[in-house]
Symmetry: C2
DNA sequence: ACAATTGTATTATATACCATAATACACTTA
DNA sequence: TAAGTGTATTATGGTATATAATACAATTGT
């Protein structure tokens, strides 16, 4: 479990999931939390790759998916920027939440739990 | 999306996840629901593979993981049986639920949601 | 105009996982 | 002994992930 400080951001990379997915998640989280001001320019593909000790292609893949999600805006020769639109951030947050909920519902149902018992489980869960 | 009836059980296989995982899930679900009486003998590795149009190795992998989970008991030359212990079924159900909850909590937190808002989302979710 | 810095694309290589296929072995029962 | 169990092994192929090296395209600053 590697922990890497990059400016204001903290990246935690391991091999439990693809690296590019972890990079995506951590940007999403930091944007959703306001840890990265909207409109900020990100590190370049090459620079972030260097910091994270990861291949530039891996960072590029993450940036491209974040752009497809409308969280990033990129311009050749110019750089990559976090969107300036709070609305897009909200939209993405909602859609990711919906997805998380629906995958939870699927899996908890698939082991034979009812809605009420599932809610109880969440209420009892630790939330640090 | 292939739907295959095998005796009392219905298998739905697709390519969204590994086949062996889907076989495992569906056995877990049917055992948890009581769709398979405890102590029942399952189809042999070869026979289930034939029914599902899947390689015997794939079924064997599923059976082996289910045995590690204490849901299946196998005896060479004899066959594979669903555990007779309701306690083991309950234990596994609890542990799978814990895992589902914790992975939901992780992902919903990672997009910046609080516990209360997460519970609201679950309450509003469809549960068919 | 030019150099430096951006994002982007391509090709090759290595590894891991998933699935199939064919075959053989080990054990139990009828 | 034959038939039906689970189990193990080896080979092959496809896909996803990650790295590496290289080149191209667009923008900016000097």
């Amino acid at each position: 479990m590697d922990i890497i400080q990059v400016g204001d951001l903290t990246f935690q990379l391991d091999y439990s999931k693809p690296l590019y997915e972890q990079i995506i998640s951590q940007f999403r989280f930091d944007i959703a939390q306001g840890n990265i001001p909207l409109g900020t320019r990100t590190l370049s593909v090459r620079d972030l790759a260097k910091e994270l000790k990861v291949n530039p292609n891996t960072v590029m893949r993450a940036y491209q998916e974040l752009e497809r999600d409308n969280l990033f805006e990129t311009r050749r020769g110019h750089g990559t920027f976090v969107t300036s639109s709070q609305k897009k951030v909200d939209e993405l947050q909602r859609s990711l939440a919906t997805q998380a909920v629906s995958s939870f519902v699927t899996s908890i149902k698939s082991i034979g739990f009812t809605k009420d018992s599932a809610i109880t489980l969440i209420e009892e869960a630790e939330w640090n």
